[in-house]
């Protein structure tokens, strides 16, 4: 598999991103918006349709529901209340807020700390790496999933996936 559009080392190589998306299932989305047409909703709708367990975290919506799921105030509350352990923390917040979120992610023992497009915080990245967990920054979970499982193919994007192996059945995404 080839790497295309690797803008910085914070994205991890494609094989590592592929492994993350095939290993883990429960994703806490920090900063998931209640606006159905916000970018974060696009990701949540897509990932949920593809079998991931989405856990909304958004203090301004705590106690309400987003996409039919209960919203938690922070990662600690989400971890305590959600029936399954949170494996990936996916951040839709500005870069300067990321360090505090990373500390919480380590507190709840999340395996992957993932920040969306444009969200970069080197200090937080180092902290998470030092704790032995995986970090991805400046990447979108949804786009990466679509890269490996066919969605990007439908719109002519260069997935970097070159293989003679049979494709998986058409994804629901």
């Amino acid at each position: 598999m080839t790497a295309v559009g690797e803008r910085n080392s914070l994205g991890l190589p494609p094989s590592a991103r592929y492994r993350i998306l095939t290993t883990y299932q429960t994703i806490a989305m920090v900063g998931l918006s209640s606006n159905y047409y916000n970018a974060s909703s696009f990701a949540a709708i897509y990932l949920s349709a593809n079998g991931y367990d989405i856990v909304p975290v958004n203090p301004s919506q705590a106690g309400k529901e987003i996409l039919g799921r209960p919203v938690y105030r922070d990662l600690v509350e989400a971890s305590a209340s959600h029936p399954r352990p949170i494996e990936i923390v996916d951040v839709f917040r500005p870069s300067h807020e990321v360090l505090a979120i990373a500390k919480q992610a380590l507190e709840i023992d999340a395996q992957v700390f993932w920040c969306q497009l444009g969200v970069i915080n080197e200090e937080a990245a180092q902290l998470v790496r030092d704790a032995g967990k995986s970090v991805v920054m400046d990447r979108c979970c949804k786009i990466e999933h679509a890269r490996f499982f066919g969605g990007l193919r439908t719109i002519g994007l260069n997935t970097g996936v070159v293989t003679s192996r049979l494709a998986r059945p058409l994804p629901r995404g």
């Binding site: 790497a3 803008r7 494609p14 897509y46 444009g118 070159v162």
Partner: protein, 456 residues
């Protein structure tokens, strides 16, 4: 799954396709369908709002076309591609994705005549204004920039005088100004030159040429590097809410592929010049041998250019592969495998000699195309560039003596033979010998010479 960067020859054969999971088909299937069944109403709504990826309607996407798009994107080292019905429609979509009424772009004057007309006549009608410059003079590019400038545009090898664009400094200037550099890479193909690797932001092709390779279908393709910072303040269409999609902001939502998605979801949807699945399939057949054909194209072209350069009936040859060409060093930098197989030469004796030459060729085909496996010839001043005024022709350095050839992949000795005999015929005074070109039933007598099932 290991990380390996495959070479361009391998990508030409494989990129963009995984064998079909249902049938196991190794060849790319032709998905000859207009539309695609939704799972349920929710799925349909999500697809229409761009919240999920999937096939909706073949004007906007098609699985066969998508394989072609991804393969070309891989060959150009781009983030993705949008295929169109022709090279002209590709230019149209790419430039209209960037511009609104009142905007401008700067373009090299050394362009295909059809492109020049598109920019100079049709685009002006809707208030999108090109400023033409001498593509080799950076000062002219800089002087033509205004606050409305939204792009720089040039052909990698200008048609037909084969002026080579120095991509790196032009890309630097474009980025200093804050606009993308668009390069039409048709005459080089991604095998000979990858403009995105030299700093260009968007690459276009008339896929009809080397990509298709056999003159069997028309098509275009737009490739994006995914690197341009669309949030630099000059492209509100990328950062402000889109009226067509629930106020979605393309750059924020889709990051590096947002420009291509806007091109597809707005421009291709609204103007409609998509590539058909059958055309995409023909293009894919072409791409699988791109590297093999191009090696032969440039090898033949070099031999032919050297032959013409020494020929007493030839005034000049515009081929950057020749050491005496002004672009020889640039060509060695940007196209080390060879500067394509399309070039021009001047025949002694001007327009009349040119006419006789074209009437006398027997293997070359006289037609308005380039980049075919077959050798082709045309007289630009009276055909591809005939809409240009005398002054514009002079500015584009297209004289009445100029003949354009596209050297094919036939045996090079046969190509040289044909040129030599046609040059000799052009030199002879008076009308050409009356050649009995057709038999009584209208078949070309040449068909017998080339082994066709000719019956007297």
């Amino acid at each position: 799954m290991d990380d390996r960067q495959f070479g361009i020859d391998t990508l030409a054969v494989h990129a963009g396709q995984r064998p079909d999971p249902v049938t196991g088909s190794r060849a790319v299937p032709i998905y000859q369908t207009g539309a695609y069944v939704f799972e349920d109403t929710n799925h349909a709504a999500n697809l229409f709002a761009l919240q999920r990826f999937g096939n909706v309607y073949s004007r906007i996407m098609n699985p066969t076309v998508a394989v072609f798009e991804e393969r070309v994107a891989a060959l150009e080292n781009g983030i993705g591609a949008v295929a169109t019905s022709s090279g002209q429609s590709g230019q149209h979509l790419a430039l209209f994705t960037l511009m609104e009424q009142g905007d401008e772009f700067v373009a090299s004057r050394s362009l295909y005549g059809g492109s020049f007309q598109q920019f100079d006549v049709s685009f002006r009608k809707v208030g999108i204004n090109a400023r033409f410059v001498d593509g080799t003079d950076l000062r002219q590019w800089k002087a033509a920039v205004t606050p409305q400038t939204k792009a720089f545009y040039a052909e990698v090898l200008g048609n037909p005088t084969i002026d080579l664009i120095d991509i790196e400094p032009l890309a630097d200037l474009a980025h200093e100004v804050g606009v993308p550099l668009i390069i039409d890479n048709t005459f080089a193909s991604p095998y000979l030159c990858r403009p995105l690797d030299w700093g260009a932001d968007i690459v276009l092709h008339s896929a009809t040429k080397f990509i298709c390779g056999h003159g069997t279908a028309l098509g275009g393709v737009i490739i994006d590097s995914g690197r341009f910072p669309w949030d630099n303040g000059k492209f509100p269409g990328m950062t402000e809410p889109s009226k067509g999609y629930h106020d979605l902001r393309f750059f924020e939502y889709f990051g590096d592929f947002s420009w291509l998605l806007k091109c597809r979801a707005e421009m291709l949807r609204d103007y409609g010049p998509m590539m058909t699945p059958f055309t995409a399939w023909l293009m894919l057949q072409g791409l699988e041998t791109l590297h093999v054909r191009m090696d032969r194209h440039v090898r033949n072209a070099q031999v032919v250019a050297e032959f013409l350069d020494q020929h007493p009936d030839v005034e000049y040859v515009n081929y950057p592969g020749l050491a005496n060409n002004a672009y020889h060093e640039l060509a060695a930098k940007y196209m080390p495998k060879g500067p394509g197989s399309i070039f021009t030469f001047g025949i002694k004796g001007g327009r009349e000699a040119g006419r006789k030459f074209i009437e006398a060729v027997q293997l070359f085909s006289h037609l308005a195309n380039v980049g075919d496996a077959k050798s082709l010839v045309i007289h630009p001043a009276s055909t591809t560039h005939q809409q240009l005024s005398a002054e514009e022709l002079r500015a584009a350095r297209i004289g009445p003596e100029m003949i354009r050839v596209s050297i094919g992949i036939e045996g090079v000795d046969d190509i040289l033979w044909d040129l030599d005999q046609a040059l000799a015929a052009a030199r002879r005074p008076g009308a050409l010998d009356a050649v009995p070109f057709h038999n009584a039933s209208g078949h070309s007598i040449m068909s017998k010479a080339f082994g066709a099932p000719f019956q007297a």
